[in-house]
């Protein structure tokens, strides 16, 4: 094992996470408790699900800015279908997830069929989907969901928050998919050199279409979990979550140019962000001060890994 392969981005990041955990637990004895950690896991599930799908998207060299809006749209539809249309909540949740998935598919079609750069395509649908959420809801919130629905966002299974199981399942599945299957390999090839991918007979368009659709799907699932967690539906739900997810992904070592990145890195990045948020809060730093720190960590982490890469042998 060479020094260079040891100083991989994920390794650096895991060390950083360990350091942060130690420092934070010294700061406050409330931090390193099972109860607190599980609760933090609950809070990071929505961003986590979105970030996992985003890892794939960014690894192909793309980006999806519309996930926050898809989340908002799906959340609104869950509520509106249930309250105004009168469908059973279980059906409306599934329908809302279906709409979110279609929203992702539409992104994919705009990007693959019309060759619109992903940044612009999803910037446009960011406005469109959020606009639909606002227009449909007319900014009215929906509350008073039946008790069983809160199991998803507020309940526990075997002592662990329900949604954390979902996140865990998603992380493990995605990790295997990206690292050990030919779909994962295809993602990396597309991200490294799309032309070669095409010349090698790989399905570039099909893969991208699937990924943006999956991104819409996870955002919609996150929406249902979100609604269940906070007991209410509002059209501004998920605003800015795309930036949190992208931060986690990029912090986790996925190259914004594509071709490189792991789900594990993203998960470590997520944990780091959540630990910082929570730990600093417990240490008495105001909640919004931590957002600053996350921004700084993002830039410094990329700067550091850029420097490592450039100083290493070519």
């Amino acid at each position: 094992m060479t020094l260079r392969s040891f100083i991989r981005h994920e390794t650096l990041l895991a060390l950083l996470l360990a350091l942060v955990l130690v420092v934070l637990s010294l700061q406050s004895d409330k931090f390193l408790t099972v109860q607190n950690l599980l609760n933090q896991g609950r809070l990071m599930t929505e961003t986590g699900l979105i970030a996992i799908a985003m890892t794939f998207v960014i690894a192909t060299g793309g980006i999806d800015l519309s996930v926050g809006s898809i989340l908002g749209l799906s959340a609104i539809l869950t509520g509106v279908f249930w309250q105004n249309v009168g469908l059973p909540l279980s059906v409306t949740a599934v329908a809302a997830i279906a709409v979110g998935t279609i929203a992702g598919l539409v992104n994919g079609i705009i990007i693959t069929r019309f060759k619109v750069p992903p940044l612009i395509a999803t910037l446009a649908t960011l406005a469109l989907y959020r606009g639909l959420a606002e227009g449909i809801s007319q900014a009215r919130s929906v509350r008073g969901y039946p008790e069983w629905f809160y199991v998803l966002g507020q309940g526990s299974v075997l002592g662990v928050p329900t949604q954390l199981w979902i996140l865990l399942l998603a992380a493990v599945t995605a990790s295997i998919l990206l690292a050990y299957t030919r779909y994962g390999r295809t993602v990396y090839v597309i991200g490294s050199n799309e032309v070669t991918a095409r010349f090698s007979g790989l399905s570039v368009e099909g893969t991208k279409l699937a990924l943006y659709t999956a991104s819409g799907f996870t955002a919609a699932v996150a929406a249902v979990i979100f609604v269940s967690r906070v007991s209410t539906t509002r059209s501004d739900m998920g605003t800015g979550i795309e930036l949190d997810a992208i931060t986690a992904v990029v912090l986790g070592g996925t190259s914004i140019f594509g071709g490189r990145g792991t789900v594990l890195g993203t998960v470590i990045g997520l944990c780091l962000i959540q630990a910082l948020k929570n730990g600093l809060l417990l240490a008495g730093v105001k909640g919004d001060g931590t957002i600053m720190l996350i921004g700084a960590v993002l830039i410094l982490a990329i700067l550091a890994s850029n420097l490592f890469e450039r100083s290493g042998p070519r």
């Binding site: 090839v189 490294s192 010349f199």
Partner: protein, 504 residues
Amino acid sequence: MADTPAFVTLSGISKAFAGVRVLKDVSFDVRPGEVHALLGENGAGKSTLIKILSGLYTPDTGTIIIDGKNVKFASPRDATAAGIATVYQELLLFPELSVAENVFLGNYPRTSMGIIDWAEVRSRTRELLDSLDTHDLDVDDKVLSLSVAQRQRVEIAKALSKNARVLIMDEPTASLVEADVRRLMDIVRQLRARGVGIIYVSHRMSEIFALADRVTVLRDGAFVATRDVGDVDEAGLVALMVGRSIESLFPKLDVPIGETVLEVKNLNHGRHVRDISFGLRKGEVLGVAGLVGSGRTELALTLFGMTPATSGEILLDGRPVSIRSPLQARDLGIAYVPEDRGLQGLVKPMTIRKNVTMATLEKVSSGMFLRAREEASRAMAAVKRLGIRCRNIDQPVAQLSGGNQQKVVIAKWLQTNPRILILDEPTRGVDVGAKSEIHLVMGELVKQGVAILMISSELPEVLGMSDRVLVMSDGRITDVLDRAEATPERVGAAMTAPRSAEAA
């Protein structure tokens, strides 16, 4: 003219990249008002020499003397300031900007207040274009709407706007159609008459004899000779370029030729594949000759499903097939080793292992899971079979030499067990050793019954390796020659045939 002192003199120039010497002790000069042709096979060192002269590279040893003074170029700007301008193969223009602005970008005429004088920019561009007999170009047109030939004239105007005294033209006719070639040659003659020294890089013998005053030949990075064009003939130049006889260089295996596997009838796609019909037989190497832009690569892309045919028929073993994607082509047993291996053939940061299995992922998977061991053993076998020189199969291909990179691309496609292998410039930028190894592999493949369609810009390679030669010009097949009748003269004539074959 021989008495005119040279404007630029290069002497004893050497240059190495990563320990590989690409130029060894080369000397070269250009006089005002002459066309000096630079000739050599791919990899002979022409581009490196040009890049040194235009300030992109600095030589390791040797001197550049301009007007009797020793100079050193730290950047292209220094070369421009010294009066040397280059018209590159990949044109360095700004597609969204107008013709006039492209000519004067970075060098705008300004009014006394320091603001750009657009009227002056436009009128001076007009003058420059008129002086090149280019009256059909609107100075306000955006460059993205221009043809390749028109863009080239913009580049030449740009060079002249900087008062270039030496103009380097790197394969200027490579992607021009015949009429544009004649116009370009007129422009070159006109520039020479004005006293501009022109370094003219081209493979086309006819142009060299029509235009050049002197010719310098490079081979394997070394200076071979400089001659007055009046003192040499075509055969002599080819001998200087190649330095060996064709037979010893190209180990053509004689293999019994089997039945027809691929038949193409009246195939069309766009402007570059027009009404193409031919057959390809088992165990045969069918060479495709033609200038860049003649439609050779476009034909390959159409057969490979990248740019599916708009009309015409493709028959495999006599059965009509439809090829709409590379995946379909692959499944039908067609493989394509592309022209630009860096852009189209390889994922350079990835390892040899991953590159080799890239087109056959399902063969190294069970279900959707990749089998690392199967992948490794296939990669290892490929490394052995093709003699890829590397540390191990987990070395990124970016670290390999050009020849070994090309072998990786070939290995990738051999994984598919193709029946028809299309090779597009298989030995471009490949050193001599790897080149003959690739030729040996081709021999082995035809022995196993693979049919090979080989596109090459290198005439000796086409003539040396092919059983038959198919010549293309302007999107059409202009001639099909058997090995025995395929002489450089006949192939060359068909390559530049101004669609005379159309009547036939």
